[in-house]
Symmetry: C2
Subunit: 191 residues, 2 copies
């Protein structure tokens, strides 16, 4: 008895194909071949390719989320933030297929996607707690940091950084710079 094809197996193999051959290499025929079935048979398990891509993105997001939460264990404040940035970049570098899965998710407005994205952001919120910002400023600052993290990843993945200067150091100094300013905002806040 050959082993049963489950949704989990389909997702796992899809991610595998993407990892090894790139995001666009994942076609239904390629996937079916790996599963040992004919292409149309896939429709007994998935609704269509876009839906599959959506689920792959969710898987990628949760994988990323896990990596980022792991990064802050035993760390706080600036050190935690730096580690998040570094983990983020290195995760995407070692999983360029998942990077594509996330940046090219068919429906970014999907509730599952939004939920897991929010969860990831919570990590940053917790790091900023000690600064005791007011609610609105807290949102602004989390957004700024989140944007910066995304941006570093984006530019790094597009090869937009000149190799002469270490990107890790750029991230560290950018974070330090931002946090110096943040302390100022925090002080003004208490008056």
């Amino acid at each position: 008895m050959r082993k049963k094809i489950t949704k989990k197996i389909i997702l796992d193999i899809s991610v595998e194909i993407i990892a090894e051959e790139g995001y666009d290499a994942l076609t239904l025929s390629r996937l079916a071949k790996s599963l040992g079935i004919r292409t149309p048979s896939l429709y007994n398990h998935i609704s269509n390719l876009n839906q599959l891509r959506q689920e792959i993105a969710i898987k990628a997001f949760s994988h990323l989320h896990e990596t980022l939460t792991d990064a802050v264990i035993g760390r706080s404040g600036e050190a935690a933030l730096k580690e998040i940035f570094h983990s983020y970049v290195s995760f995407m570098r070692s999983h360029p297929g998942l990077y594509a899965a996330i940046t090219r998710v068919p429906d970014p407005a999907d509730e599952h996607i939004k939920e897991i994205a929010d969860n990831s952001i919570d990590v940053i919120f917790r790091i900023l707690e000690p600064y005791q910002l007011n609610k609105k400023d807290e949102v602004h600052m989390v957004r700024g940091l989140r944007a910066m993290a995304h941006g570093f990843v984006f530019i790094d993945m597009q090869g937009g950084f000149n190799m002469d200067v270490d990107i890790k150091q750029s991230m560290n100094e950018s974070i330090e710079t931002f946090l110096i300013g943040l302390k100022e905002v925090s002080l003004n806040n208490k008056n």
Copy 2:
């Protein structure tokens, strides 16, 4: 005599199709239809679809570059930086097709792409001149700001921002925060 089909016309119509129907709507048959010729005839003018996409990305980049340089006219320092960020976001919002053209450029390592991307960064370098940072710090800080700008656009385009809090204000406050820190770095630099 019907008008001659030039590379410029092909690019213009391609951008038009992308603008009105989205990035994936640009197919060779769609393009050929707009030009009033059959699909294979396109190969008398372009080498293939990916190459065309590459050239569209370059066009999009230069369009963006122009918008950003316009944004700083008559402004400097913080005001200029804020205007760049705002222009960046609003440009992408009003040209989602060009956003896709840029973020999904087939070959980001292309020399033309790198060159025009570097040109855009020069704007930020000029803004930071008054801070008199040393060469390395200047690179770090430009990278941080560039990443933040990219990140805000990226998250905005993916609909990742909760609408309750104004993104414009988040950008302003993030920039202010970063620049406060930057001033500190600048002072330490002079010793």
